[in-house]
Symmetry: C2
Subunit: 414 residues, 2 copies
């Protein structure tokens, strides 16, 4: 890839190591050469104002002055993710005995998960960095988002998935065209192969590997939107699902940035994390009081959260502990029950990840970790249409009748 | 149902027969007592202005002054449908040799089809008319929309579907709770039963039966949005799928209203209709020069358009002929090919209905009925996630490899 490409990454100024602080020029790098720590984008935020944000488009690009993307990013064809509904969930609040509850419903994104946000930012940055192919290893939502965003942008995609993926999940990515490779192996094998390819193919941007520092910044937009949609203020409590942990740390980062920039009032807020018990390494570390996250082998229906060795685990522990939050985990049965509760009370059909988050919220309420009197937001990061099998056992008809009014009357449905 | 209920239906003034013009007070009626013709809402539009619309919420309720709903409708919990993306489709336009092409992408609605619009209006009106249960016969999108909207509104839903419906479609509605009845029979049987129940249960609002005049008005919002999103002007050509035909006639009605109210410049526009060949009674009547639509027995993968006896068929013929448009139909293979084309060029995964519409657009271009130099909009009315089986045969991986860089290299994917 060309090192001489013109780089217009807006307010981004450099990459800095999250461990040792070493600074690097903006470029296609993701690990510190000194200590192998992860790199993070640093910024010059002098252009940010509420007025500029509010005058922007109704998608993540309204926050372009806070992201590593060119200032004209919205003019390039893109899937226009973000600015999803923040739904006031009074029915659910009443069912749970909570005063004020909001659902940030990211199933409203173009491919129906929050991944459209991170992929949108990764694509914009990758283009500026001179990459020619947008790639990823994935088992679901990320694959959809990468293939769709690349198609819309008119560039090539290359998606790698385990070959034992369900037929349905293959269809939802393959339909966008692009290169779509099934790999004989599990997700770890696919991930390893992706890193190898990224090392050899100079112009392939694996969004969650070699452009990860840019990609991850996209999750900040969830935090910005929650604050703006609440009328430029922070909630008291927010509950976020944990896969790699990146989303949680970036929402926390977004809240801190908004405070520093004076866009919201400085007030305490608590960040809570949610995991499925079948893949709960961060919850386990939190509960044990550890700083280190011990990898696990995932076994849960919440596949989109099934990362056994979460890269941002330690940073999640930091954010949760610093803000006075907590991390909880729930069984698969609790996940399904919470998907149903959200659908029945608010008409929102969430993915298993949404069930994990609401399930954990319920458990955090029961334990007293969450304050029922404080304003609470939780994230539904994906769409129930993508995880139908999970709820099939409980989503059944009330009755089966003959096609007559008499049969209807006798069924006692009135 | 109470005839003394206070009826706050905003700008709606009466119901008028579309055949004989007989006028009725606003109420729970849907057919003319004189001639059995369908009833339509009439309005007093004195409050409408661009300013009032633009100051409204980013959903269909910004058009509340043009709908039979209370002026405070947005304050009542609802799924907030509408204001979906109008996507400039330059890649697709280039592939088709068209100058300016837009996709109105209604898969972005809360339950991912345009049905959220009509159900939103039906629910708001039904509430004012004193109904207690929101009901429908359906085989898919409408069932999802009714169950979700009722859940969010905190009222009871009752959805009736044929008992041979695929398990997946049962799950996507049953998850919202409410009464969900499978009926031993085909869709016609279910529909007949729904009419019978509507006749007996005074407080059940079957959205597409006894509150149909209100429900149907919801489709006007697609037309309003297209015009507003184009900067308050009408496109030259619009291509709309035909099931009952209601959506097409209401988009035409919306355009006419905007002209009459001076909200857009008065200019000619052409309305085109799209059907699947396996259920193309309106296209057949159009091509034969008939005024009457002869019912057919549907046989197509585009199930959401499979209405063999479309209630608004004659009105569709009127609108299309009056504006100088045409109606085309396409085979199931063309439907699938067009779903893939839309996904590959624009990153939008449409339902089979979207494939029907784009497929028909392509055929209308080839025949010269559509002008490639004129600005064209087409509707993607639903989401590909709901009709995965249709594209499974063509959405396949590019390659299957072992998890090694050597295997990747040998597969010739670089």
């Amino acid at each position: 890839m060309s090192q001489t490409a013109v780089r217009n990454l807006g307010p981004a100024t450099a990459l800095a190591c999250r461990e040792c602080g070493e600074s690097y020029d903006l470029g296609p790098r993701y690990a510190c050469e000194q200590c192998f720590g992860p790199l993070e984008v640093t910024y010059d935020y002098s252009r940010v104002s509420r007025e500029r944000i509010e005058a922007g488009p109704r998608n993540i690009w309204r926050y372009r002055d806070l992201l590593p993307v060119p200032s004209n990013v919205a003019d390039t064809p893109n899937t226009e993710p973000g600015f999803t509904r923040l739904v006031r969930a009074d029915n659910l609040a009443e069912a749970l005995g909570v005063r004020t509850l909001w659902v940030k419903d990211d199933s409203g994104n173009p491919t129906h998960s929050f991944k459209d946000r991170v992929v949108g930012v990764a694509l914009a940055a990758a283009r500026e960095l001179g990459f020619k192919v947008l790639a990823c290893p994935s088992t679901g939502n990320l694959a959809n988002a990468v293939a769709a965003a690349a198609a819309r942008a008119g560039i090539r995609s290359a998606v790698f998935v385990p070959s034992n993926l369900e037929q349905q999940k293959i269809v939802t990515t393959a339909v966008y065209g692009g290169t779509f490779v099934t790999v004989d192996g599990n997700y770890d094998d696919v991930n390893r192969l992706a890193s190898e390819i990224a090392g050899e193919q100079d112009d392939w941007a694996f969004v969650n590997v070699n452009v990860r520092p840019y990609y991850a910044e996209g999750s900040k937009t969830i935090g910005y939107e929650v604050a703006e949609q609440l009328g430029w203020r922070l909630p008291d409590q927010i509950v976020v699902p944990i896969a790699s942990g990146s989303q949680l740390t970036k929402i926390d980062k977004a809240f801190q940035e908004l405070i520093k920039l004076g866009l919201v009032e400085d007030k305490p807020y608590k960040v809570f994390g949610a995991q499925a018990t079948g893949c709960s390494p961060v919850a386990a570390a939190f509960k044990a009081g550890h700083d280190v996250v011990r990898p696990v082998k995932p076994d849960t229906i919440a596949k989109s959260l099934a990362i056994g060795n979460p890269a941002d685990g330690p940073y999640v522990l930091d954010a949760v502990r610093r803000t006075g939050g907590a991390i909880e985990d729930v069984s698969d049965d609790e996940v399904v029950d919470s998907i149903a509760l959200l659908a029945r009370t608010e008409g929102i059909f969430g993915e298993t990840a949404g069930g994990v988050t609401l399930g954990s919220l319920r458990k955090l309420l029961a334990s007293g970790a969450l304050d029922p009197g404080a304003e609470t937001v939780f994230i539904n990061s994906g769409d129930g249409l993508k995880t139908l099998d999970a709820v099939a056992p409980i989503a059944k008809p009330s009755a089966n009748i003959a096609p007559t009014f008499d049969a209807f009357r006798k069924a006692g449905l009135v």
